[in-house]
Every structure is written in C-alpha cells, then in structure tokens.
Amino acid sequence: MAAIDKYIRQSALPHIWCPGCGNGILLAALLRAIDKQQLEQKKTVIVSGIGCSSRASGYMNFNTIHTAHGRALPFATGIKLANPELNVIVITGDGDSTAIGGNHFIHACRRNIDITTVIFNNNIYGMTGGQYSPLSPSGTIATTSPYGHLERPFDIAALAIAAGSTYVARGTAYHAVQLTDLIAKGIANKGFSVIDAITQCPISYGRKNKMGGPAQMMQWQKDHAVMVAAAAKMKPEELAGKFVIGELHKSDAPEYTAEYDKMIARLQGKGGEA
C-alpha cells in the first residue's frame, strides 16, 4: 500500500462504505493503476457522480470533484476540454453512469474524449438502499422490484462499443490485480476508455438476493468470470450465466480535444490543415 499512500487523503479515512463493500477494493486498484501509469498527481483530476461508489473521489488526494447524480461525464468533459493537459478519470456507479447518466455516457463514447471511466458496477443503487439499476439482472429482487425485476440489463460493453468508445474492459473486485492492469491500459488509451468493474454490495444487493456475505459474493465473481481468451474458445452454452473479463475492445479514432486543438491551430494559422 505504501506506493499508493500518497494518493489517499488519510484524514478522510475510515471511509463511509459498509463492511465488505467492494468499493474500497476498486479504489485501491484504481490508485495502483494511477501509480503504474505514473500520472502527475497535480495534473490529475478525479471526477465522480453521486452514489456510494462516487464517494471515492473524496478519499483521493488529487484535484477531486464529486458532482451531481449522473453528471460526472459532462463535468469531466468541460474539465478536459478546457485544459487538455489534465488527466481526467471518472468514477461512477452503474446507476450513475447508465441510468440518469446514460446519455452523457454514450455521448462521451461518441466524442472519444480522452477520459477514463471506471464504473463501480454493483448491479444496484447502493446509496439509496437497493433499487434496481439498468445493470440489475432480470429477476433481481430490489426494493422497487419486490416481485423480481422484469427488465433486461444493458450489456454495458456492447453499448460502449456501439457508441464509439475506443477502449472497453471488464474486471472484478476479486480479480483486483488484473483490474489494476485493465484500468492502467484504459488510462494509457488516448480516447474514451470504459472499465466495467464488477463489485459487491452486500447490503443493498447481496442480502435481498441471497448472495451470502461479502466473501461469498467475491467467490461468486471468481466462479462466474471467464477470461476473454478462454471465452473465445467456449460455446455459448458454456458461457451462459457467466461473464467475460479482460480487454473487450480496443480501436483507433481521433481524440476530441486533440482535434479541437488542431482546429485552433489551423484557425490561428499556427498549423497546417490536419
């Protein structure tokens, strides 16, 4: 932990998360990824929305902003566009990013603006006590689906890819080392990167859905995750009920703020046509 100590606001700890909540594990993974990429601390901005997960920004010793529910990406877009020198990392929940913030999410993907978004995906609205989210599996028991959730969840990776994101990966709290690596690669990508980080909410999801305690929920992650390479060799039947982790997509496309800077250079006669 020593390496990431300087990235933590020690005085803000202990954090507010419930015992066994996976958010702390993801936070540590993110900090290790930042360390791995050797981002300049003072040029790094952490932007979060609202939710249990989004409280993470408060524990991180950077320029940090805890915005409004669903709006981390617009704020982040303003920050990055106004000052492209800044490394901008967004922390968001599954509800924050795909319910109220779904539109901002697909538009950030489309613009391919150089922001790395880590979705703390616990399949539920944790902060408000367990309502279903757009990533809750069908059948989920939530306080607003007492008889089982009728809707289908998004395939967030497919959505991000269709919307234009140039790096999409999935990891879990259990696979914390791999997750660090996936986030680091997302940061390295010059464009909009999405890391779907699966985590456990023992209180607002686990209990109602009989998932057992925190350790059992992490065991579930271990048992149901399939590495992308392995998945490629598996039949659909074998993959049923499982989910794929690893780097799911990588592509090239012009990055928004770089294009903008080129336009400015062109207009100011400082650069050629680009």
């Binding site: 932990m1 700890l13 540590a28």
Partner: protein, 67 residues
C-alpha cells in the same frame, strides 16, 4: 511480523479471512481482524489486495531482509 493491521479501519467483513491461502487471519470478538497464525503467513499480499478498508498492509519480507 509481515502484516500491519489498522484495527481502527477494519470493519470485520471477513474478506481477508476467507481469501487468505494460509488461514492466517481471524476476527476477534469485537469483529476486528487479527493474526491467529502469523507464522503461517507467506506474505502473498492477497489480504491487502482485497481488504476494502485499507486496514492491512503486507510488508514484503524481501524488503525487510534487504534492510
């Protein structure tokens, strides 16, 4: 001792206990983690990696030895 435990931060979730490959850890009656079998610890770092509360730090013996 290879582990530094911050009991103030520990919330007793049991994750470290469950995933320690050597059954080193256990919760005490106040629900805080402690090293039941410190001698068994192989400093693998799993507990630090998965503790959600920044309550465990594993001091790598390699480093210790170098000092």
């Amino acid at each position: 001792m290879a582990l530094t435990i911050n009991k103030k931060f520990c919330k007793g979730c049991g994750i470290c206990v469950a995933f320690c490959p050597k059954q080193v850890l256990e919760l005490d009656e106040l629900g805080k983690v402690y090293e039941k079998a410190p001698e068994a610890c192989i400093s693998c770092g799993q507990c630090e990696l998965r503790c959600p509360d920044f309550a465990i730090q594993v001091i790598k013996p390699a480093k210790e030895a170098a000092k």
